[in-house]
């Protein structure tokens, strides 16, 4: 078994059809195939091979327009994404924040858009894991019980102790650097690889941050600082967002799918766009209808279980478009929760210039390409923030230093200089700029959800999603607090803020969806009436359909979702295997 070149599947009926090949689908395929189950993976994009396709040592100059973002490659030519804010022929609808009119989601700047929501999709094997940020933070005990803690949002039907063993399993495959810090609600891992040394600007910022009561610790990133499970360590030279041909960071394509394929139990069918779930005569799911994108034909794949790992909103779309007679509002929607409680991590950022970093001696600051340090959020910090009316937290990361200059040098610092003076000034300032960025928690609200548009279909004939999205007061206050923290830290580090910190949270916060952390639309619950799935991702409506992606999240902690998605997917698949063996799937 292997990569299938045609839509003729080979081992039907499969034990499981896995829809999606990213973090969740990769784990599902890995866990199920390793356990001996025959698995068919459907991927809506093309096959993608990081070993052959990653531009590792290419300079920006080796890209058209020096790797600038364009409508066709919004995060730059080298970004490991096929797709992005727009996928040709596969639109989604959003609302114009000012007029309320529906419009197609377009390429947009997350800090300056009229769209109420932005939806990043990758149409390629490995999905968004090819370019993701690699931030790998465990959720803490309090993150599973937010309502019990402060009365806001909702509690998960599971606790940290339920998930911790699966974090352990995932971390032993993914490979994450970090350090044991024993910070409350920020669980450590027993499997951390050693963190890289901080860069000069990181040390300065960390010193400033500490003065202001924001201690920085080594970041926790899915990047190898030691050889790991036969994978090479980081070369400290290339950008993770391009992917990694030597498998030094985590991508589903390099870490999960190869060993899953090696079992001989996994078939992968690219260019297969899942449309809806099919049923046998007894109300059990028995497969998936998909579109073979190479021919445009509708096909069917048969399986004893269906694992939906298509990304939260795409999974919700498949379920909403599955409308057998007994589920006229969509499969999994008996409770009315399908598509609701949509969240995305909050975000904001601020830049500064630090005179102490001017005229630094020449040295390399590439490192692992992401931050080496970050600032977590602790319950102690929450106490301070709560007094300011900010109920939920965020982590801070940063960038800066002597990395390859992009197309946006901060030119106002060099005045009207040209000629040799300009060159001297450029050298003086190069490497003295920093940017601090935060990612925070959003509390789910009634106004944020996705639904099927009653009229529009994509080029494959599949009804499309439209998004309602609104940040709550808590998020706006949080974003303003982020800005205040950024400014404090930059100034305490001896730097000056470029521009002004934004005091209006509505202007400081990222557009919904733009952080690419969609969660909650198929949330899990302890009672069938409160959610879409049980705590193992099984639909309350149909237990042999399992949601393995971020849709099952009940809250959206600042920890960012990928690591937890993988842990929950592992737990869900292990449970599926367990109940299958016991014959409890009906």
């Amino acid at each position: 078994m292997a990569l299938l070149q045609t839509s003729k599947t080979r081992a039907e009926p499969y034990d499981a059809i896995v829809v999606g090949s990213g973090a969740a689908g990769g784990i599902a395929a890995y866990v199920l195939a390793k356990a001996g189950a025959k698995v068919l993976m459907l991927e809506a994009g093309r096959n993608y091979d990081p070993a052959k396709e990653t531009p590792m040592f290419q300079s920006n100059a080796d890209a058209p327009l020096r790797n600038a973002g364009t409508p066709q490659k919004p995060r730059g030519y080298f970004d490991a994404t096929i797709g992005g804010w727009v996928v040709k022929g596969e639109p989604y609808l959003v609302q114009n924040r000012k007029s309320g009119e529906w419009m197609e989601g377009a390429v947009a700047d997350r800090m300056n858009t009229v769209q109420n929501f932005m939806w990043w999709r990758a149409r390629m094997l490995g999905g968004r894991t090819n370019h993701w940020g690699r931030v790998s933070l465990r959720m803490g005990p309090l993150d599973f019980k937010p309502r019990s803690t402060d009365g806001l949002g909702f509690d998960w039907p599971i606790s940290y102790e339920d998930v911790a063993p699966y974090y352990d399993k995932v971390e032993q495959i993914v490979g994450i650097f970090g350090s044991k810090e024993n910070l409350e609600n920020n669980p450590d891992s027993d499997y951390f690889l050693p963190p890289p040394k901080p860069r000069a600007y990181e040390l300065l910022l960390a010193r400033g941050a500490k003065k202001m009561g924001w201690p920085a610790i080594p970041a926790r990133m899915a990047i190898l600082t030691k050889p790991f499970n036969g994978r090479s360590q980081c070369l400290y030279a290339t950008s993770c967002a391009r992917g990694c041909s030597v498998r030094a960071n985590f991508q589903s394509t390099t870490v999960l799918l190869p060993p899953a394929l090696d079992t001989g139990n996994l078939d992968i069918l690219p260019n297969a766009m899942a449309s809806r779930v099919t049923f046998d005569g007894r109300g059990r799911a028995d497969g998936i209808i998909y579109i073979d994108k190479t021919t445009g034909e509708e096909k069917r794949a048969n399986g004893k279980a269906v694992i939906l790992a298509a990304s939260a909103c795409e999974t919700a779309r498949i379920l909403l478009n599955t409308r057998p007679a007994n589920f006229p509002n969509g499969l999994g929607n008996s409770s009315g929760h399908l598509g609701r409680w949509l969240t995305d991590s909050t975000g904001s950022d601020l830049s500064g210039q630090i005179p102490a970093l001017e005229n630094m001696p020449l040295h390399n600051e590439d490192g692992v390409s992401t931050m080496h340090l970050y600032i977590p959020w602790t319950p102690d910090r929450q106490k301070i923030a709560s007094k300011l009316g900010v109920p939920r937290g965020f982590y801070m990361e940063w960038s800066g230093g002597r990395e390859m200059p992009g197309l946006n040098p901060p030119l106002e610092f060099v005045g009207d200089a040209y000629g040799s003076k300009l060159k001297r000034e450029a050298r003086r300032y190069f490497g003295s700029f920093v940017n601090i960025l935060a990612r925070g928690e959003m509390i789910p609200n009634e106004q944020s959800y996705c639904e099927i548009d009653p009229e529009r279909k994509d080029r494959w004939g599949i009804p499309i999603l439209r998004f309602h999205f609104q940040r709550g007061e808590a998020e706006l206050k949080q974003a303003a607090y982020m800005q205040q923290a950024f400014a404090e830290i930059i100034e305490a580090s001896g730097g000056r803020v470029i521009g002004e910190p934004i005091r209006d949270g509505a202007k400081a916060i990222t557009a919904g969806g733009s952080v690419n952390h969609e969660m909650g639309v198929t949330r899990m619950s302890s009672r069938a009436e409160d959610g879409v799935t049980n705590s193992y991702g099984q639909l309350w409506d149909c237990p042999n359909v399992v949601v393995a992606d971020g849709g099952v999240f009940v809250s959206s902690p600042f920890k960012t979702p990928t690591l937890t998605i993988m842990a929950l997917a592992w737990r869900a698949c292990e449970h599926l295997l367990d109940v299958s063996k016991k014959g409890e799937l009906g």
């Binding site: 040394k197 040390l203 500490k210 830049s351 020449l362 009207d416 040209y418």
Partner: protein, 205 residues
């Protein structure tokens, strides 16, 4: 990644727009045809620029001369034009994407104005003027903005620095940056600084 309020494109556009406004112009319209671009799934290992270049020979000469006044050859490195800045500007203004089309129009208007101004002031093209004359023209334009910083030639640094760094192997690895140089481990900050930082194992730098 560094995010700053004024983008390179905005800065460049402002400069050229201001230059254009400083004189009278009779401009050709920049026609870009149907946007084709490199598509949403190009071969990332090959630099193929599918769009034809728009700048005329005359515009390229003006661009080259302008780039070399802004970033001349000196002890810090070569002149902008010798490391590909002219080609890069041509690639940029010719691209079929909305942003580049918008900026390309402004840039070409600016090039036309500079050429006209050179003819008026010196009776020869900007490229044929000597550095003193070229600088005089640039200074005059800066002065005419009354310090409002609408016109800022240093913004063109954005054109030059990337091109300089991109050829760093030719001008020496230590010229500007050490990027894409593989390491066995990350070495941390440079040690030749007197600031001591309170981080375990952190060197003075």
């Amino acid at each position: 990644m560094i995010i700053i309020p004024l983008s390179r494109r905005e800065a460049l556009a402002r400069m050229i727009a201001a230059a254009a406004l400083a004189g009278s112009l009779d401009l050709e319209v920049f026609a870009a045809g149907e946007p084709q671009g490199f598509g949403d799934d190009p071969n990332l290992l090959e630099k193929e620029i599918p769009w034809p270049r728009a700048l005329s020979e005359g515009e390229r000469r003006t661009t080259t001369a302008l780039a070399d006044v802004i970033l001349p050859a000196d002890e810090l490195g070569p002149a902008a034009s010798t490391v590909g800045v002219t080609d890069f500007i041509d690639e940029w203004v010719s691209a079929p994407y909305p942003q580049q089309q918008r900026e390309g129009k402004i840039i070409r208007e600016g090039l036309a104005w500079i050429e006209t101004a050179a003819m008026k002031h010196f009776g020869k093209s900007f490229a044929a003027a000597d550095v003193t004359e070229q600088s005089k023209l640039l200074d005059e334009i800066i002065d005419r903005q009354s310090g409002a910083r609408v016109m800022n030639f240093s913004d063109c640094f954005a054109i030059g620095l990337p091109a300089l760094t991109l050829r760093r192997r030719k001008v020496g690895r230590r010229s500007v940056t050490l990027e894409t140089f593989p390491w066995r481990s990350f070495p941390g900050p440079h040690r030749k600084r007197s600031v001591t930082l309170d981080w375990p194992d952190s060197p003075s730098f």
